[in-house]
Symmetry: C2
Subunit: 278 residues, 2 copies
Amino acid sequence: MNIGIVGLGLIGGSLGLDLRALGYQVLGVSRQEQTCQRAIERGVVDDASLNLTLLAAADVVFICTPIAAIAPTVQQLIPHLSPETVLTDVGSVKAAIVNQVAPLWHNFVGGHPMAGTTDSGVDAAVLGLFAENPYVLTPIETTPTPAVKRVEEIVRSLTSRVYFCRPEDHDRAVASISHLPVMVSAGLIDSCMSEPDPTVLELAQQLASSGFRDTSRVGGGNPELGIMMARYNRESILRSLTSYRHSLDQLIELIEQEDWPMLEKKLQETQSQRPQFL
Amino acid sequence: MNIGIVGLGLIGGSLGLDLRALGYQVLGVSRQEQTCQRAIERGVVDDASLNLTLLAAADVVFICTPIAAIAPTVQQLIPHLSPETVLTDVGSVKAAIVNQVAPLWHNFVGGHPMAGTTDSGVDAAVLGLFAENPYVLTPIETTPTPAVKRVEEIVRSLTSRVYFCRPEDHDRAVASISHLPVMVSAGLIDSCMSEPDPTVLELAQQLASSGFRDTSRVGGGNPELGIMMARYNRESILRSLTSYRHSLDQLIELIEQEDWPMLEKKLQETQSQRPQFL
């Protein structure tokens, strides 16, 4: 089977490495000549081009561009495809993408591999990035079953843990456990920095240790990712933030009212609930 | 020099191990006979007793009990001490303790070693727990300089990073970088669990990964510690929570208003500010 990949960054490049190792023929397209050359050198693809026509020979195409470029890429790609070609994407939000792309191409299956590293670009690509990690597929009612089966088969060969759900359910779930933590964590850094007394601020910076380090990690990450999730998953993240503010207000109220038994109960609950997510 | 330790748990026990290794004579007091025996067996102390009279021979006494027991312990200890004996504590809040203990004993220096593990009890005690970690001392205007020097000398011998500040400044600083993260993180778990749709909740639990794991870590920790910090550092933690809520509301507003340039600026700031705390 021929597999096409548009966008040869960390995700697209790592897909290429894995799929070639599994025996697929991999064809890559990038906007940069240098990336094409590097992808061939590193064995990420069998062939690469700046031109989408290369993908006329592909049976399945993974769109691995930034979210904003997914639908425009599909539009440019369509003239080169045979009607049987299956398209899938790797965007970290799903409803916005599926709503745009499904009307353009019948054989489209939304996807989201939940794996990554802090690095980016074709040189960051690694073998086995998706192994044991979740890979969500979000077919809708009109998605042809053979298209879903074909993408599922490829994703299972990566030894990912495959989940199926509605695009909207994906977006709500990742809003709470992936996008909300970014905002919660960024708020912590912003709040600590807003200390008006310079002596206290300096002391806080000197005394911060593992509790601050872990809770602030994702809030100190790549701003572009934060913007992208807020922009393309706006409704769900606002829903999660509203729920979070309610939880926070309850904690504040318990401390204000010095209701230590209820605060203890709440903290016992969070202690016992956390392992259900890990 | 003879050093007394009241409370032979993780902190008191680890102090004993380090101080004996440095050549001090260490005398320990615990409420439990079994802990006394174990402390002697493990070499945490040279001698141990259930009775505070053992500490009549101590030049410096570290009070390593839970916060609520610190002032009562000092009151019970006073009849056995010579006036020159220096007392210090290891409580994680300072103003509440210093305000209670300083009027009882002139030679008292508040202290807070910022080190620990997830374990507790005398069997959790380890050599070198305090090395390279912050150790805050909070003398006040009336604290005699020789008492401060004596505690400082011992703490420096542990190769801790020693900081001096007012008890109130300590409490504000740790409220923001140590106590606030616990509430912020507990709120995240509580909010994720309050998802009303069982399909979405189950999916969230399956998809949660490193972002959720790190941001929720301290909110899923020991509830007793959370209660203690809220109870004894109530004013400062409420101050930090109010500031945090303001930061969170600003982020929510930017997302509501779709003000992506300002949200990006904010996330760029938090990205560049975080390393100032690490």
